[in-house]
Point group: D2
Amino acid sequence: MFFASDNWAGAHAAINDRLSKESTRFAAAYGNSELDKAVEARFNEIFEKDVSVYFVSTGTAANSLSLASIARVGGVVFAHSEAHVIEDECGAPDFFSGMRMVDVEGAGGKIDPAKLKHRMAGFPQDALHHGRAAAVTLTQATETGTVYSLEEIEAVTAIAREHALPVHMDGARFANALVALGTTPAEMTWKRGVDVLSFGGTKNGCWCAEAIVFFNPDLAKDFGYIRKRSAQLFSKTRFISAQFEAYLQDGLWLNLADHANAMASRLRAGIGALNSARLAWDTTSNEVFAVLSRASAEAARAKGSAFYDWPVPYAMKDLVGSDEILIRLVTSFATTQEDVDQFLSICGAA
Amino acid sequence: MFFASDNWAGAHAAINDRLSKESTRFAAAYGNSELDKAVEARFNEIFEKDVSVYFVSTGTAANSLSLASIARVGGVVFAHSEAHVIEDECGAPDFFSGMRMVDVEGAGGKIDPAKLKHRMAGFPQDALHHGRAAAVTLTQATETGTVYSLEEIEAVTAIAREHALPVHMDGARFANALVALGTTPAEMTWKRGVDVLSFGGTKNGCWCAEAIVFFNPDLAKDFGYIRKRSAQLFSKTRFISAQFEAYLQDGLWLNLADHANAMASRLRAGIGALNSARLAWDTTSNEVFAVLSRASAEAARAKGSAFYDWPVPYAMKDLVGSDEILIRLVTSFATTQEDVDQFLSICGAA
Amino acid sequence: MFFASDNWAGAHAAINDRLSKESTRFAAAYGNSELDKAVEARFNEIFEKDVSVYFVSTGTAANSLSLASIARVGGVVFAHSEAHVIEDECGAPDFFSGMRMVDVEGAGGKIDPAKLKHRMAGFPQDALHHGRAAAVTLTQATETGTVYSLEEIEAVTAIAREHALPVHMDGARFANALVALGTTPAEMTWKRGVDVLSFGGTKNGCWCAEAIVFFNPDLAKDFGYIRKRSAQLFSKTRFISAQFEAYLQDGLWLNLADHANAMASRLRAGIGALNSARLAWDTTSNEVFAVLSRASAEAARAKGSAFYDWPVPYAMKDLVGSDEILIRLVTSFATTQEDVDQFLSICGAA
Amino acid sequence: MFFASDNWAGAHAAINDRLSKESTRFAAAYGNSELDKAVEARFNEIFEKDVSVYFVSTGTAANSLSLASIARVGGVVFAHSEAHVIEDECGAPDFFSGMRMVDVEGAGGKIDPAKLKHRMAGFPQDALHHGRAAAVTLTQATETGTVYSLEEIEAVTAIAREHALPVHMDGARFANALVALGTTPAEMTWKRGVDVLSFGGTKNGCWCAEAIVFFNPDLAKDFGYIRKRSAQLFSKTRFISAQFEAYLQDGLWLNLADHANAMASRLRAGIGALNSARLAWDTTSNEVFAVLSRASAEAARAKGSAFYDWPVPYAMKDLVGSDEILIRLVTSFATTQEDVDQFLSICGAA
């Protein structure tokens, strides 16, 4: 009953097998092996476009170096106030890009287009003192378990396009969003105005597999130097490639995300039926936010469940009663129906 | 016959097995699992001291973040002119530490203590304009295949100590140096004045396993933030821990390095006996530098050998004839006697 | 009728005379002349404490380098959302300090202590992902023309002290605040918990005279290097010293600020009596914010008045009618009664 | 007898008068006054080209921000090993540009073109690990008092051009070099391949007047943001403009440099005739390097002379006897014949 985070899971067997196979041979380092090239080409198929792909070690690196690729002196990056780049990366995006993150509000973890416009107006062209608008970043799926519809993505990127700003997408849970929408990688990204993507595999069945995918080749032209200078060029790069090869083969990645999402649905349905718990807000990916009685939470933890308390958003301060807590539950490729049902049963009995 | 670099090898079976076992279970992320704690404790045993250990993704990260831990505004770091931090990391050490690398000469890839003293004299205390001496870094084994004796390490660290400067050791090939000297990890580091170590496992049988080991706890006190801000905190940290657990168990790491060194010895002996080749200089770790006839080099490559041409050092410009080239040959845990003998045989026949 | 900013004024005659006198002689560079030492000592008297004083070229430099002196990796600095360090310095504070500015709300341009506490709670100790609380900065007088009372300063610094965070004060208009409160420099700073101060002279009668004053000697210990590395060490430092000598002599600086404040009072009183204008909010330093009919504004500008439109704060969006604008009027040592009266008369007649 | 540095002098009367005149009036801040625009236009005349001009506070800022304008991630800048950007700016050029300074040797403080070529070869294209060649900077007049001929400038810039690298010139003593060569500003800069210039006025009669002059408009396009973000945008910019207006009027700047150079010639001639002193090497600008008997040096200092000991270059270690020292003597617009003659007379008598 590990619902603390999808990064508590191990690695999927197919991915592990591919790694094992890779361990026995020699190959060129620093991304120059045939495997590396083959996997890069595979990304072109996945995204129906010639893309530039660079592997890095962490999701924070993927986001930070993506933004570094579009760095402008004095630049500001517009992000949702709860975005990982603002809340959870210890300033790495600022450090690598030399830019400031500017928070934009919006319900459900999504940037509100009207509020984005208003925030941008604070950075008029040539107003040196304020700095200048340089990029927009959005998170898909969001930090609060929701998913932007294609129209919602378009509404944000359209504003960026009006100001000629590149758009980054933080796709740490890209696959979960993709299967939730039932769309294609191309539709969810460059066809909707995304220029560069953090494509995460770690949370969805890999050990360590994060890629930066450039749809806009201009942004990629110095990226080899950016990655090396940022200490993110693996010598044995092919162990990342091997993971991605297995991950992307025969739709494994989509199946894994589908499973995780289904487990989240099962959790949501179960919680909706309990007296001692209720959904805090609706979600559509592999994260569930619930208000739980303290008694249930204690019982669940006592019996081995792992999950995090979640800070109550200021705007929702009346949501949670004094004998209740807000929690986050995250499912993954490795979550089982038994895990879910057992957790619900413990909560229901408490 | 892959002698291009030790990072062309795959992973040792024992390490791969340990990873496979790890893949099937859940555990806490970001270094908080029991395995992570156990491996950290194992480092205490290896180094006979309570150390602080932090995993990072690359050797460049290990060096750069080590130096970031001792960063001083306006600081300069003294390093051998051929050191990896100067020659091969695209400025990452400067970027992460905010300091400048100042080159010191010395024969055989080793810092010459007299020249270090002289270089330091250019940065007298409170001479703001020049900047200030902030650290010394030395590489063990060196980039040119040699190994500092314990006395040679001490001679360098003694000068640093006189100026109260911390000492960093780049140990990308730490194990190879260790077994070459037949000493202990403690003797080769903190007992000889080293404060912080880049401890490399990747070149010696791991997939991706680099650790920063702090002997001086003062340097470690902010390091959690330094690593996270530098985008080097793996979510599934335990996949690094698992590799190190297997690597350090029952002396595997020493056996692997011993083997690599033995293969290099075999190469050296064989080359010494050839007419078409000779050693460029003597080495004692797993790197061999040879002057080879172009004919031999072409023959070897035609038959599948991989190795790099090496730039002829300016001071040795008469070393290499017009029909010869200087090459570097690197052995690893995965190099076989057959590889070595076949390579020598091809060269001898050409 | 120049009310655009106090930095549109020239330099006071006494300051200019002192500069002229300085121009004819030789003296040691880089702050090592006797004059430099004497002026530094003068700051000890002014602040009734042994302080460390460093001159820099701009107010942005003073703020940015002050924060650099307390830089911590992963650190965040709490500032009012309208603070100069957030709104008007193009990211320089972030660049020099390597830290992020985190905005705190509060009425009248002042940090609300309760909101500061709440914001700080988002950065609990050892929560690497969020970063860590590192400093608090407050602006005296504020960007909106108000002045913190001594008790209000204390309320902010007390919270910082609980978390062992240093406090910076942006004193670009320090003198205006000081005479508005009728207190002493010591009372308004270190006696109320301020550790480092940006002490501005430029807006109050100097050409270019900005000082960083350290009350906490620990923060100053590396500052020589910070300033030089930041390209802020003037060779002919004594031309700054000369300005400060005249500025601080016989209370000139206080008299100049008193005059500027008196002119602002006269403006406020006059505006209060007009039909075509009203005060937007109350101020106590040398800035006045007024809602003016567009007709009056046009008339005033047509007759040579200079002043800026001010963006209407979101929370005050109903303050300004469709035929009105919000403006900022700033007075200085060089503003005359005639300027004020003529401006009021034009507005009144329109 | 102040020969310590040309920055020990005050300001020329004409420059001081122009500042005094400026002090009594109001004008727009941040470089937007009519005076600012007029002085910028004056630079076009001086350089016979439409240039972009930006004022900054120090020579270190001029150099560092010039290099920041041509910053490339992973970039290296080739500079003479004794250049100010390497030796005397505490790492500021590295900090602001994010690039590394790579030293090139050459006699007389000038980059040796053959050695520059050789050094560049160490940074082949797309060799990520080494970094990449990004700029060349040369100093005119050099730090050792010599002056590049136009042909020598061309020889350096031609190599840069072959690699499509921008060229920066550190002209802290631009005027002294210019009058020494008897050429025009255009000939010594853009006509010889210079893209951006640090144009110094401070050492030659101003209080504080340093400009960055862009001949290549591409480099200037983001520079407004670079300067503001670097805390180098003066609010009362016009006090710099006023100095430059007087400085550039009626050839004042050339006359002042001519005088300084003439005083240096007088010193050189006098030293050549002494028994107790000799020239260390020949110079052609306003710096003189001499080997002096310790007795003479002590006598001169006892009678009020100020000058610095100079470190003996390693390659010249036999130049200076045990009872001698190497000194630097710098003349300025304010040096008088009497100063020179008195100094020579004291040395001669000792």
